[in-house]
Amino acid sequence: MLKIDDLHVTVGGARVLNGLTLEVPQGEVHAIMGPNGSGKSTLAYVLAGRPGYEVTRGSVTYDGRDLLALPPEERARHGVFLGFQYPVEIPGVNNVYLLKAALNAVRKERNQPEVDAFEFLALVREKMRLMRMEESFLSRGVNEGFSGGEKKRNEILQMLVLEPRLAILDETDSGLDIDALKIVAEGVNSLRARERSFVLVTHYQRLLEHVVPDRVHVLVRGRIVKSGDRSLALELERRGYDWLAAEAA
């Protein structure tokens, strides 16, 4: 599904990713952990196509196609979804109708007709119940005035409605209270499927108790320095990153 090979990325003059190689097969959930500033969000942004990230070497293949050649909106339409570490507030743009426009963009790509307004609302309501979000979020501006945790839930709501094929969730668990974490985890689990892959960027192994990953990778200074099964996350929680950084140096 996703194949990243020897990826080198420079942003704002800084070399942030230095030969990152990673493969996420279809249907799997991979967690990426690593110290602050190691390049996790950079990786997420590069996959989503954010401008300003210069790929100096390497490749990214998604579904056999050169992902880096696509503009961000086409990546989204082909099923790539980024849950932002810091979801963006867009006052004046309505939350639910952005969702509708996003869904219609995906459907258009799949040669499906525009979603029926009635069905759409029913769908959104159902997903909002799952996210324990109040109806009032329907009418508000995109993330406008949402609390940190509400923004994260809104990201997951979008993911649930859009049903991406590759979901990259950048620290969606940060800033969530314990109940919200469970809700978000349930949301992710409800989408787990054979044809869908996840990349979960997280600092906490707690999320991984609820969303059990197939693989855990450690990103240090722009490279994957260690991969393992979920027990690696527990080990990181115990030992921190220093031993790995030393190993990598």
């Binding site: 989503a48 980024l82 006052p91 109708y97 426009a101 995906v106 501006g141």
Partner: protein
């Protein structure tokens, strides 16, 4: 150069003087205006508050008023207003090249409590009005020009009939420009007085018939007595070749509230000077301005608010977009006089640069002569927010749509304050350009699906 121009204006005035109606402005007063204009000269872009204005078109203007009377009917109204019936509850007055066009105005009788008077008509058509005490004569160059040449005037007085509780009055005044500047100028003139505790809702529009390069010099005078309130919507949608010079002066009495919405969309070159005098204790102004420039348009606005009494308040917001090669400017000056303690003002001025060769300038200015005041301001000018744009793209919206959406959202907090739904819809349609797109945009913006 400016001197040559004022000389020519004076000559044109001398020729036309005889034919200018003294019922609109007395001859002596016209002459004083011309003398004052010659003495002070026209502004140039070297003048402090005129740097962004486009004054070049003045060279080619014939300043004498357009001759003749356009025979306007409802059917011949410009597309900017045709198809829109007068707003329910509003009486519409149409002026063509500065003269009342009764045939296009209506419904005939305005509500009780309002007197509308156009001196060009006989008193039989419209009831005459007792002379108003309007204080000082105008001082700005373009006000003087209007004073010297105006051929008609919309004189509005709102008062509550004795013993009747004041009810809000709704009026729509449409000024249409049709002639080219070589044929003559158009001098819209609007004078409003609102009696104590009376309320007025006023829609004032400036539009073109055809696409001549008209010269329009409008003058608006607003007098608000104690406790009066006005919702004033000013919409400038002149044709793409028109030049608009505009001056609005308002005096706001004790505990009176003036809500002024100014929407600038049209004209090749538009300059509006707004002077609001908060004269009585507790007088309030809310000024919400929107300007959307494209192509080579120049849209320049200068607003001076004078806090001359205690506990006066100003809330000012501006949202301007400069696309294409346009130039959009808003200069907002707040003065707090000695003795205006407890004055409170807030300015939020934002400009959006939407074209590589466009220019935008927003400038808050404060002049404070007393201690106990609260004045805050925020001013930003920049491009579309890249983070917002990327967020929308990452959700699959196409770039064009995402950009338009963000421009809309940018204007939205000011446009949404237009409380007259019919007018807001028209403005939104003009801003969106295309109606099919508008429906999609509207859904995204307001979450109110099109019906």
């Amino acid at each position: 150069m400016s001197g040559d121009l004022t000389q020519r204006i004076a000559q044109e005035h001398a020729v036309a003087a005889e034919s200018l109606p003294s019922a609109v402005v007395a001859h002596a007063r016209r002459r004083r205006a011309i003398d004052a204009l010659v003495a002070r000269g026209l502004p140039t872009t070297r003048d402090e508050n005129w740097r962004y204005a486009s004054l070049r078109p003045l060279e080619r203007v014939r300043f004498a008023p357009v001759q003749g009377n356009l025979n306007l009917t409802q059917g011949s109204l410009p597309s900017a207003i045709r198809g829109y019936a007068p707003i329910p509850g509003y009486t519409r007055y149409v002026f063509a090249d500065g003269r009342l066009a009764a045939g296009a105005s209506g419904p005939a009788a305005p509500q009780a409590g309002v007197t509308v008077h156009a001196p060009s008509r006989t008193a039989a058509t419209l009831p005459s009005l007792a002379p108003l005490d309007r204080g000082s004569e105008p001082e700005g160059a373009f006000e003087l020009l209007n004073e010297a040449f105006a051929v008609d005037s919309a004189e509005i007085e709102v008062a509550s009939p004795a013993g009747v509780a004041p009810e809000p009055i709704g009026l729509e005044v449409v000024f249409i420009a049709s002639a080219s500047a070589q044929q003559g100028a158009s001098y819209p003139r609007l004078r409003v007085t609102v009696a104590p505790r009376c309320q007025l809702r006023l829609v004032e529009r400036h539009v073109s018939l055809g696409d001549e390069a008209s010269f329009v010099d409008s003058m608006v005078d607003v007098q608000m007595h104690d406790g009066a309130s006005i919702d004033h919507y000013r919409v400038q949608q002149l044709g793409a070749r028109a030049t608009w010079m505009d001056t609005l002066s308002a005096t706001v009495g004790r505990s009176a509230t003036y809500r002024l919405h100014s929407i600038g969309l049209g004209a090749q070159a538009a300059r509006s000077t707004v002077r609001v005098h908060l004269r009585g204790e507790g007088a309030e102004l809310a000024l919400h301005a929107v300007a959307a420039g494209d192509r080579q348009q120049v849209l320049d606005q200068y607003a001076v608010v004078d806090h001359a009494a205690p506990h006066t308040r100003t809330e000012e917001s501006f949202r301007g977009i400069a696309a294409g090669r346009s130039r959009v400017a808003f200069n907002g000056k707040i003065i707090v006089r000695p003795g205006a303690q407890g004055a409170d003002s807030n300015q939020s001025l934002r400009g959006l640069l939407a074209g590589a060769d466009a220019e935008i300038d927003v400038r808050p200015q404060l002049e404070i002569y007393t201690d106990d005041v609260r004045c805050s301001h925020g001013a930003t000018a920049g491009k579309l927010d890249e983070t917002m744009l990327f967020y929308l793209l990452s959700r699959g919206l196409d770039r064009d749509m995402a950009q338009r959406l963000l421009k809309w959202a940018f204007l939205e907090d000011v446009v949404s304050r237009i409380a007259v739904v019919e007018l807001r819809t028209q403005i939104e349609q003009s801003l969106a350009g295309q109606i099919e797109e508008l429906d999609a945009l509207k859904e995204l913006l307001h979450g109110r699906p099109s019906t």
